[in-house]
């Protein structure tokens, strides 16, 4: 067995695990957030993660045409995803604040762990928070960074170690990323606010599942590279 196969499998597994962690850090609001009755962005885990990671892939792919450095490509992917998720969270706050007339407030903690501002008095009764408060914003940016890093890592691996064409590498990276994000979404079940949410403690279960699926996907991808004659 060639060492480069181990490298491909290893990097795909790392990328998958990072995708799983990132999905747990994002502010997922789901349907309740669409009515302004829960904290976060008003759509499911996979849609938020896919949007961020795809933007990350665009920046990573553009940077990849100029350099061969792994760190530079992955970090540019991470920055692209972070910018995307930050813009989405900021615009969500503007719409909630000036359109729906609710204050950004966390529903899971009484005091913001970062700014120590009280949260409970500003929350509408019977609601699960509104908008994107500071702790959630920080957590979401972190999630975008980690997710973009994982997606770009997989893209770089498939492009430069498995020697796929750029289009194949991009669609392969997105597909493996999506599979991992779904397992994380199964684990989250609905809404999550970030690292301060009690549901974040369930992360190890999702990591085990994500490890198994990424390992199998990594083996499939390296078999594709060997048998397809690109390696």
């Amino acid at each position: 067995m060639e060492p480069v196969i181990l490298l491909i499998v290893g990097y795909v597994v790392i990328g998958g695990l990072l995708a799983c962690v990132a999905a747990h850090l994002l502010p997922v609001g789901g349907a309740p957030a669409a009515m302004g009755t829960a904290t976060g962005i008003a759509t499911g885990t996979v849609q938020i993660m896919l949007g961020a990671a795809m933007t990350g892939l665009f920046t990573a792919a553009s940077v990849d045409t100029y350099t061969d450095s792994l760190l530079l490509v992955t970090l540019s992917g991470a920055v692209g995803a972070t910018v995307m998720i930050c813009v989405v969270m900021f615009m969500a706050n503007i719409i909630y604040g000036f359109g729906a007339g609710v204050v950004p407030v966390s529903g899971r903690v009484d005091v913001d762990p970062i700014t120590k501002e009280p949260q409970a008095p500003y929350k509408t009764p019977q609601c699960d928070g509104h908008g994107v408060p500071i702790v959630v914003f920080v957590s979401g940016s972190l999630g975008g960074f980690i997710g973009g890093f994982g997606g770009a890592l997989m893209y770089y691996t498939l492009l430069n170690y498995a020697h796929f064409s750029a289009g194949t590498a991009a669609i392969g990276a997105i597909s493996i990323f999506v599979a991992n994000a779904i397992l994380a979404a199964y684990n989250i079940r609905g809404t999550i606010e970030g690292f301060h949410d009690p549901k974040f403690k369930r992360l190890p279960y999702a990591l085990v599942a994500s490890f198994a699926v990424s390992l199998l996907c990594g083996i499939v991808v390296s078999l594709t590279a060997v048998l397809g004659g690109t390696l």
């Binding site: 669609i171 997105i174 999506v178 979404a185 499939v220």
Partner: protein, 283 residues
């Protein structure tokens, strides 16, 4: 407001006129679509319209699996299941295309089915892990089977679409004509739509399987039109441009017929629910 008996009497004939009951059961549908889809994938020399029929069957199977999996309320949204299916499908299709050259006889590529089987195994593993008490503990009945079918249907659909566009299943041809031209992005998102949109749009207490399936066939018709245009632009068909044009006409007819049937069914059944007073509850 009370329900008049006249409304109930009217119910039976309107439903009968608009049902679409080709294979009546989910298991039969899976077996039929799986076998026909696999046979059409292997014979790459067939005209595009026959591959289009296979594509419609496979996408119906995928839609059925999405419906079966998300019926219990996953808390992740129906769309994510359709996206998962297509994601698995792309990985499986890459694997199938890589091994396609082995054991090839003329225009027959039996080895591509290895990708379908591998994706079935990965789907089964992820289903078992998601349902297991020790890990994610979803506790959804038959989730394992649903995830396995999602992987297999997604792979068959992507392979069939590649076969329609390139006219063969050669790895380099698919990479040049599907991946590098960017058609794969269209395939990815439209496959997702065909699988996730019908159940996502129709779900609710009054959801009926036949009506949801009409919506799936209608979107498959749209995919056939798109693939026909892609085939026409690339000029890859062994039968010349007539093949692509027949594909576009076939897609347009399927879309028109099933769009009309779906809208008619929706209007009839929306009329039926008027005056029932209470929303039905799921047991």
């Amino acid at each position: 407001m009370t329900v008049t008996p006249a409304v109930i009497e009217e119910e039976a004939p309107t439903k009968k006129g608009l049902s679409f009951k080709f294979p009546p059961e989910e298991t039969e549908m899976g077996i039929i679509a799986g076998i026909i889809g696999a046979v059409i994938v292997i014979f790459t020399g067939l005209p595009a319209v026959i591959k289009g029929v296979g594509l419609i069957l496979v996408l119906l199977w995928g839609m059925d699996s999405v419906r079966k999996t998300s019926k219990y309320g996953l808390g992740t949204g129906v769309p994510s299941i359709g996206v998962l299916s297509t994601g698995y499908g792309v990985v499986g299709a890459l694997m199938g295309l890589a091994v396609a050259e082995y054991g090839r006889v003329g225009q027959l590529y039996p080895a591509v089915l290895l990708g379908v089987i591998v994706m079935g195994v990965i789907g089964l593993v992820s289903g078992v892990i998601s349902n297991s008490e020790k890990f994610i503990a979803m506790k959804i009945p038959r989730l394992e089977r649903g995830m396995m079918e999602l992987g297999m249907a997604g792979t068959l659909a992507i392979l069939l679409e590649c076969s329609i566009v390139t006219g063969s299943l050669n790895f380099n041809a698919v990479v040049n004509q599907v991946m590098n031209t960017g058609i794969i992005a269209l395939m990815f998102i439209f496959n997702c739509f065909a699988m996730l949109h019908p159940y996502n749009a129709c779900l609710g207490p009054d959801e009926r399987r036949e009506r949801t399936r009409m919506c799936a066939v209608e979107i498959s018709g749209l995919i056939c039109i798109l693939l026909g245009f892609a085939q026409l632009a690339l000029g890859t068909s062994p039968y010349g441009p007539l093949d692509a044009v027949s594909m576009i006409v076939f897609g347009a007819i399927v879309f028109a017929v099933f769009f009309w049937k779906f809208i008619k069914a929706c209007m009839d059944e929306a009329y039926e629910t008027v005056g029932t007073g209470m929303i039905k509850t799921i047991e």
